[in-house]
Amino acid sequence: MSRRITPASRRSLLRGIAIAMLAAIFLAVPEAWATAPICENGATASPTMFAPRSVPAKMILDLSWLVWGICFGIFLIMEGLIILCIFKYRRAKDDDTEAPQIYGSNPIELAWTIVPTLIVFVLFLVSARTIFEIEKTSAPEGSLEITVIGHQWWWEFDYPEYGFVTANELHVPATRDGKRVPIYLTLESNDVIHSFWVPQLGGKTDVVPNHINHLWLEPTMTGTYVGQCAEYCGTQHANMLITVVVHPEEEFEKWVAHQKTEAVDDDTVAVGRDLFQRTACINCHTIRGTVANGTFAPDLTHLMSRSVIGSGVVSNTADNLAIWVYDPQILKPGCRMPSMKLTKKDVTEIVQYLLTLK
């Protein structure tokens, strides 16, 4: 079958394939994140580890390039050898003799034991250093501490320093050269194991019931970053999304001041408010300043300051809210909030009320 292929044409074919493979691998990856579209809820790019926006994420990427380089080098050498064998040591058509029998060679075998050992040793030392740098067992100095609580299938963010609780959207200030603000998250779970992962801000850390974990982030650029739960946690694992909004310092302080306030009390939506307070809503949801003080579901005090509902399943618009209040199972099948069997009119009234919770 290979009679008409000359060694020269074989070599050029080989070279062509090699170049094409290299190009594909080198171009595809950066291309993927550079061209990722702006998404609906305002995030800037695909949640890729190649566009780090935080100190630990950058450290991980720097180490990853080294790992990539080493592994890619080994890949090229080994695949090259295999391809070489395929072409060079293919049996000639009518050669029925046996190949010379070589049982082994101590110097060669010793060499290819020692070289990988050395590579592994170097890789181990470099990586170990990064582990100890990133995995902080106590809060770094001057850090903002936030407690993250994983629920099936949404996130609760507790700001003990400021005394309020919010959901699904984590707001943090950006760190600056003059004033570093590390974010030190305490991770707890209310039910099963989840995992907090926003690739552009850092690696993932599991959120485990009966076990407290910590995660250090230190965003260096403002913007909206997306991530999601990375440990399978049940039916709606796919829609347990995370949005992190990184503000400039002053903007963050404004946001905090607003979140600290109690809910707006607007008499024009009294019908909706009374409906909300008469139905089961208040057993699960809190709206500070009213009788609603449930803690099983997201705090709604400043619902309209958030861009998404259902932990990111849809954007936070009046229409989506109406569908959600009518029957959450339409938008997020399997989620823990049941349909309250409200009439269309009641739904409209409640949504009118929710829309005032700026």
């Binding site: 695909s46 990853s64 890949f75 395929i86 070589i102 910590h214 440990e231 796919a238």
Partner: protein
């Protein structure tokens, strides 16, 4: 005992259908059990593949609503469980069952009836698991098949979060079949240690026998902790114990440690047989003795040893202390060294050979090329900070499919093409085999290559849908297209087997000009394997016979 014809084969033509059924069901012959293991494994492979196809169909486009979330979750749970416990395990046990006694010149395994017992436990364990589709319709209709993922992390498996009986079916199905595996493991160890033919010292065993010995030892060490953990979980679910029930003070971390103390050696239990098959096939098709036999054996033993001490690398994101993470990063990187050695020695065998690219060799070469990638991404994943980014993402899905599909499944196909003539007396078609290889090779890379990219772009595994705005569309579409190509490849295989069984070329005793003892007897072999127990002087007894002027034992 059935009547035998002149070459020692049972007289099948005269047997009635019921008679033949009875013969298969009641057999304790290692060859029949081997065939049943592999056939059942391949059938489950088709089912598991179908499950994967449905998942890829759902994920081909963003915001797809083809499958409901719970259906999708059931599919990936069943896909993973099936492929590991009902495809990988039975095929590796089946091939070992058939080939090992013949390679060591024995007439059967040490405990033939225990062997049959092991097979039936496996089969009914598998059926029990699949019966959940009918039988687990529990409270609130939340039954049906298990939906907790193949590693079933507590407390998701506790009664609070997993109503109905689907998780109970998962536990019991695997418990039953893992007892079967333990039994067969013990059987293999005993056989290899006590039933070798005269002259076959430990260092004169074929590489495959060595590898399967270590594999069986790993089965014996790793399976019992899983069984124990499953019994504990069963206590939690059915009797209100609190081992993993966090609401009652149990520990979610305990399950992860117990599971992966089984789970990681299990990965090596699955990949070692792949090493075994290619270690047999590559030398024969390169017409060259395996390079560095003692080092191969040493590497196998050290892989077995180290693989028992790396399980925490599945838990790098669990929030263990930096010191624990560092230690297990070290042990994980360490295992790359013996694995790399094997890779070098296989390539070393090819260098200077006269390679015949028949289908078994084609699949073995495919194994080398693909397993290399899986191995290297494995080294990358051992780097804890990198793992923090990509663990539980599609990168990991890509990685372990390169190991278990590109590695194990390609090696299994190599083994099937290699030993099918021995088992049936018929050759598989080379043309169809080559079609199958290229379709599978292209389809495989198209499916699992892009997964590395989508993982690094932040796509977690086990999500039933994703939004259109995350830059994952292209990669998922490519993955799904690749599945179609793979299906075409597998279709060629099924067609090839059916065709060759009906009118394949006669194989003769030794179609590949092989060197180990299984090629010294007829194809298919008689029930007692060898008329006379052979006596060997080296690792390659048939080489010595074929080349009396230059036998191996002169050099060993």
């Amino acid at each position: 005992m059935t009547a035998l014809d002149h070459s020692g084969n049972p007289l099948r033509a005269k047997a009635t259908f019921l008679g033949r059924m009875h013969e298969w069901v009641s057999t304790a012959d290692h060859k029949k059990l081997g065939v049943m293991y592999v056939t059942t494994g391949l059938l489950f492979f088709l089912i598991g593949g179908l499950e994967a196809t449905m998942m890829r169909w759902q994920l081909a486009v963003p915001d797809s609503s083809l499958l409901s979330p719970s259906d999708f979750n059931r599919l990936f749970t069943m896909h993973g469980t099936t492929m590991v416990f009902l495809v990988g395990m039975p095929i590796l046990l089946g091939v070992a069952n058939y080939i090992i006694p013949m390679q060591i010149g024995a007439r059967d395994l040490a405990f033939p009836r225990l062997n049959a017992f092991g097979f039936w436990l496996f089969l009914f364990g598998g059926l029990l698991l699949y019966f959940s589709y009918f039988g687990a319709q529990g409270l609130y209709g939340m039954g049906s098949s298990p939906d907790v993922g193949w590693f079933a992390y507590a407390p998701l498996t506790e009664r609070t979060y997993s109503r109905g009986h689907s998780t109970d079916y998962w536990i019991l199905g695997l418990l039953v079949s893992s007892f079967g595996s333990i039994a067969t493991g013990i059987n293999l160890i005993t056989t290899i240690l006590t039933m070798r033919c005269p002259g076959m010292t430990l260092m004169k065993m074929p590489v495959m026998v060595w590898v399967m010995l270590i594999d069986a030892i790993l089965i014996m060490i790793a399976m019992p902790p899983l069984a124990a953990a499953q019994v504990m979980l069963l206590f939690d679910r059915l009797m209100g114990a609190h081992f993993f029930d966090v609401q009652g003070g149990g520990s979610a971390i305990l399950w992860q440690n117990l599971f992966w103390f089984f789970g990681h050696p299990e990965v090596y239990i699955l990949i070692l047989p792949a090493f075994a098959y290619v270690s047999e096939i590559i030398p024969v098709f390169c017409r060259k003795v395996i390079f560095g036999y003692p080092l191969m054996v040493a590497a196998t033993v050290s892989i077995g040893f180290i693989s028992l001490g790396v399980w925490v690398h599945h838990l790098f994101a669990l929030g263990l202390s930096p010191m624990v993470n560092t230690i297990f990063m070290g042990s994980t990187m360490l295992i790359a060294i013996p694995t790399g050695l094997k890779m070098f020695n296989w390539v070393g065998t090819m260098i200077g050979g006269k390679i015949r690219f028949d289908t078994p060799m084609l699949f073995s070469t495919g194994f080398l090329a693909l397993f290399l990638i899986g191995g290297l991404t494995g080294v990358m994943l051992s780097v804890v900070p990198f793992d923090w980014q990509v663990s539980d993402s599609y990168f990991v899905v890509g990685h372990f499919h390169y190991v278990l599909f590109g590695g194990l499944v390609f090696a299994i196909f190599a083994a099937i093409y290699y030993w099918f003539p021995k088992v049936t007396g018929k050759m598989l078609s080379e043309t169809l085999g080559k079609w199958q290889f290229w379709l599978l090779f292209i389809g495989f890379n198209l499916t699992f290559g892009p997964m590395h990219v989508s993982g690094m772009l932040g796509m977690p595994r086990r999500i039933y849908t994703y939004h259109a705005d995350r830059g994952w569309e292209l990669w998922n579409m490519l993955s799904s297209i690749g599945v179609l190509v793979q299906i075409a490849g597998v279709t060629f295989f099924v067609w090839n087997v059916i065709q060759s069984l009906r009118k394949g070329k006669d194989a003769g005793a030794d179609p590949w000009d092989g060197w180990t003892l299984e090629w010294a007897t007829t194809s298919p072999p008689p029930e007692y394997n060898f008329e006379e127990i052979p006596k060997v002087y080296s690792c390659r007894p048939l080489w010595d016979l074929k080349h009396p002027e230059d036998p191996d034992w002169k050099y060993e």
